[in-house]
């Protein structure tokens, strides 16, 4: 019934030998919310970049509103009424909302008249779509949710009829995400077309009308959202059946392995990021730390693993204190059985320029197993790397390959294999499955639970609430550097969402 807002016909795009998009056909109906899902590397962003004029398709046709369109630059896309809200906001931090909105769209040589015009236009947009933002607020003082709203306003101000949102909820709290969805629905009612790129199937089910699934550069299916299920979509994404929730037995928590008491940590600017935190981690349990990114979880991990100095407090590992005042040496902590899978595998957990086998000893390169006097025991390192590749199904299985050439999921497996195979007593994991595809998520979750069942103490920090809920035996919620609540794995998403948003006093009544 609805006329197509955008038609993509036979789109192909290659980067060197890699075919990012092959023969893509897609029709997006006017006035609908259309979801595009797929694993990392499936070609979603490439496709949208072609639509927005960042890349040129090698072949194929784009039609906007039924007419063939030639989109060579983002300006062409904007002229055709296509707007994009990027995953990483493209805003000038120390400009006001208004200044950001007119940036690049100033109508006169004199800024003053542009601003006056923009102000009245902005006022109209805000009222029409329920996008309230103070036009004179400075961007860096706004919370992320509002910054995103500015991005949307920016697109609308340029006359966008079609809005593309790339992973819009990655940085939002559940409440902020809900608000975003309400805005998107309102936009739809006003006749705008929304394209939503995401890897979160729950969001697709919640607000889209249609959904297209991409896998390895091809468009594998398009479904009406009301006629499909999460299970079917996951299967289409991966190409096989996926367990969405890991099965696990009851935890048998044992002795306290890691005791954190009154820990306070500041960041490099002197801002208190971890504020007087205390908790215990026992053998044979997984404790999950939930929270919106930037509430002190990263600093907590870094302090416990010896990378960052703490201001005060104590951490006991197996009953013996960790030196937090000086530089607690991460190497020494490893010797004491504390393994750490860092949040940022690209810069911390791995050296991307190294060969796979070199990364498989990072941090354990002092181990006499890998050395012959001052020399590296290359044969032993290679044998060890091959062993881990086999055990953790790391692909491609070539220990001489540069680490940057592995996919996100396989890179994470390299780190996990290294840390888990050392048989540590305590395993600290930051964002275990960030940027990891669905198939590998399942594998990683199973491994973490296997560690727990072997009686290891596992601490997981993740911004993915689903992950925390499915893995953890106990959930701690962090907000503004404090632990604002502890819940069991049966806690509902709404309950945890409220805690994550800092609504402390409200009990689990919701």
């Amino acid at each position: 019934m609805a006329q197509a807002a955008i038609e993509l016909i036979g789109i192909n795009k290659s980067f060197g030998a890699v075919r990012a998009n092959r023969d893509i056909n897609l029709e997006i109906a006017r006035g609908t919310i259309h979801g595009i899902v797929g694993e990392n590397g499936a070609g979603k962003s490439t496709l949208m970049s072609i639509l927005y004029g960042f890349y040129q398709a090698d072949s194929g046709e784009i039609r906007v509103g039924g007419k063939p369109a030639s989109i060579k630059t983002p300006n062409d896309a904007i002229a055709l009424g296509i707007g994009m809200v990027h995953q990483h906001f493209m805003l000038v931090d120390n400009f006001s909302v208004l200044e950001n909105i007119i940036l690049g769209a100033e109508s006169d040589a004199l800024l003053k008249s542009s601003i006056a015009k923009a102000r009245s236009e902005l006022d109209r947009l805000e009222r029409e779509y329920g996008l309230e933002v103070d036009p004179d607020a400075i961007i860096e003082e706004l919370p992320v949710g509002l910054q995103q709203r500015v991005e949307i306003l920016k697109a609308l101000y340029r006359g966008a009829e079609i809005l593309i949102l790339d992973e819009p909820t990655g940085v939002l709290t559940p409440a902020e995400a809900d608000h975003l969805f309400r805005i998107l629905k309102q936009l739809k009612e006003q006749g705008k077309t929304v394209v939503l790129i995401t890897h979160k199937l729950r969001e697709i089910m919640a607000i889209t009308d249609n959904v297209s699934v991409m896998r390895q550069g091809t468009m594998v299916a398009t479904r009406e959202t009301s006629k499909t299920t999460v299970g079917e979509l996951a299967e289409l994404m991966v190409g096989r059946r996926v367990l969405l929730r890991v099965e696990k037995g009851e935890a048998e928590a044992g002795a306290v392995k890691l005791a954190v008491k009154n820990l306070t940590v500041k960041d490099s600017r002197g801002v208190t990021m971890v504020d007087d935190i205390s908790f215990d981690l026992r053998a044979g349990e997984i404790v999950g730390i939930a929270g919106v990114a930037g509430n002190g979880q990263s600093e907590l991990l870094e302090a416990i693993s010896g990378i960052r100095h703490a201001v005060s407090g104590s951490v006991m590992l197996d009953g013996k204190p960790i030196d937090l005042t000086g530089a607690a040496d991460p190497g020494e902590l490893r010797d004491r059985g504390l393994a750490h899978v860092p949040e940022d595998r690209h810069h911390v957990g791995l050296v991307l320029a190294f060969e796979e086998n070199e990364n498989s000893i990072l941090g354990y390169h002092d181990d006499p197993r890998y050395l012959k006097g001052p020399f590296l025991n290359v044969d032993a390192i290679m044998a060890d790397a091959k062993d881990k590749i086999e055990k953790y199904d790391i692909r491609p299985g070539n220990p001489r390959l540069k680490t940057a050439n592995f996919s996100g999921g396989n890179q994470q497996k390299i780190v996990l294999a290294r840390e888990m195979e050392q048989d540590p007593g305590v395993l600290i994991v930051g964002q275990p499955t960030r940027g990891v595809d669905v198939g590998a998520i399942e594998f990683i979750h199973k491994r973490l639970i296997a560690m727990r069942d072997q009686g290891k103490a596992v601490l997981v920090v993740s911004v993915e609430l689903d992950e925390i809920r499915s893995l953890s035996d106990r959930i701690l919620v962090m907000f503004a550097g404090r632990i604002v609540g502890e819940r069991g794995p049966e806690a509902t998403e709404g309950e945890l969402g409220l805690l994550m948003a800092g609504v402390e006093r409200q009990e689990a009544a919701l």
């Binding site: 992973e167 190294f354 996919s407």
Partner: protein
């Protein structure tokens, strides 16, 4: 969103691309020669013949190359640890002092094969100590190593000038240099090796330091790719955060890498001082430290590449001298321009032609470039 580059086969990466860069450098240099009214083809012939045509030329080329191997290795070792040592010049210069002390003390009593090892140790030690101060300042105080090492070049120069016009100058001499060494501090020449191949050599300064340079190239390879220390240096060089995570001490690794770099720079002084001049004179390093930066970049920080790049620069020095002699229109400064062009194309612009060559390879044989995961989240 990163543009995913396909990988090239190793031979293209390490052979073809440097060759293309070099060819472009020479073509542009050819235009410069044309501009001053000389025939670029004849100039090229003179340059190459001057460097490799006769035995003496080859010996001179290798003599210069020896110097550049040391400075190139010095820059490369620091670079593998993420440090840009611009102080190679000063470290080599001040190391002349260590050599002077050893040689002036022992040249009358010991044979060269005893003086030489002592001089090696002395030059390496002085060079390392000179690098230690900027390294310490970087590690402990965060003073940027580029700034401090370059400043230390000036300090080294001032100290050496003071010593060479004062305490180290023989009484009554007018020249700002030490007295000439006796036979006990003169290194044997290697010209007989070239003469084995039938070439004739009048007199050329190629000496045993050349062999030391090759040995050091091998040891640097061993250090960087086969030892725990090299592994730690490379980890820190690629990602200081990953090094911290791996329990590698920032202070220790910076200081160690810089001292090794300084020691290699220091050993460079052996070549002109004990192998050629037989005295320590003012400004004997004459820019070799800076050439080392170009050599290291062009050699892709790999000892084999550095040796080859050092020979290339040796050729430019030797052939360039011949060229300036044969073609009066081409002055010494023109030679510097040609060297600059080589540095520009081979060092600074080394990635200029890479995308095109990759596209070419990809279109001919997609297999050869291998598959690389498309980077960028959700790409």
């Amino acid at each position: 969103m990163s543009t995913p580059y396909a990988k090239l086969p190793a031979w293209a990466d390490y052979g073809l691309i440097p060759l293309i860069n070099l060819a472009v450098a020479f073509i542009v240099a050819g235009f410069v020669v044309l501009l001053v009214g000389e025939n670029p083809f004849r100039a090229a012939v003179i340059l190459v013949e001057g460097a490799f045509g006769k035995g003496t030329g080859i010996a001179f080329t290798l003599f210069y190359a020896t110097t550049f191997i040391f400075t190139g290795l010095s820059v490369a070792v620091a670079a593998h640890c993420g440090l840009f040592n611009i102080g190679t010049e000063g470290q080599a210069y001040i190391a002349g002092l260590g050599i002077a002390i050893v040689c002036l003390s022992f040249d009358s009593v010991l044979p060269w094969w005893l003086t030489f090892p002592m001089a090696i140790v002395a030059s390496a030690l002085v060079g390392a100590l000179w690098a230690l101060i900027p390294a310490y300042l970087q590690a402990k105080r965060g003073s940027h190593i580029v700034i401090t090492t370059i400043m230390f070049n000036f300090i080294a120069a001032s100290i050496m000038v003071y010593l060479l016009v004062g305490p180290l100058k023989p009484a009554g001499s007018q020249a700002p240099q030490t007295r000439n060494f006796l036979a006990g501090a003169e290194l044997p020449k290697l010209n007989w090796i070239i003469e084995l191949f039938g070439a004739k050599i009048r007199s050329a300064p190629l000496n045993v330091t050349f062999l030391l340079a090759l040995l050091m190239a091998f040891l640097v390879w061993l250090l960087i790719w086969r030892t725990k220390l090299g592994y730690e240096m490379r980890t820190y060089g690629h990602s200081p955060k990953a090094a911290r995570y791996a329990g590698i001490s920032e202070t220790r690794i910076i200081i160690t890498a810089m001292m090794i770099s300084g020691a290699l720079a220091g050993m460079m002084a052996l070549n002109p001082v004990m192998g050629d001049q037989h005295n320590v004179a003012i400004d004997f390093v004459s820019g070799a430290g800076f050439v080392g930066i170009a050599v290291a970049l062009m050699g892709r920080l790999h000892p084999v590449g550095i040796v080859l790049a050092a020979v290339l620069f040796g050729m430019l020095y030797q052939g360039g001298a011949e060229l300036a002699f044969e073609m009066p229109a081409i002055s010494r400064d023109m030679i510097v321009i040609i060297q600059g062009l080589v540095i520009l194309f081979a060092g600074a612009l080394e990635h200029m032609f890479r995308p095109y060559i990759q596209a070419l390879f990809a279109s001919f044989s997609p297999r050869s470039v291998g598959m690389e995961a498309v980077k960028g989240k959700g790409a």
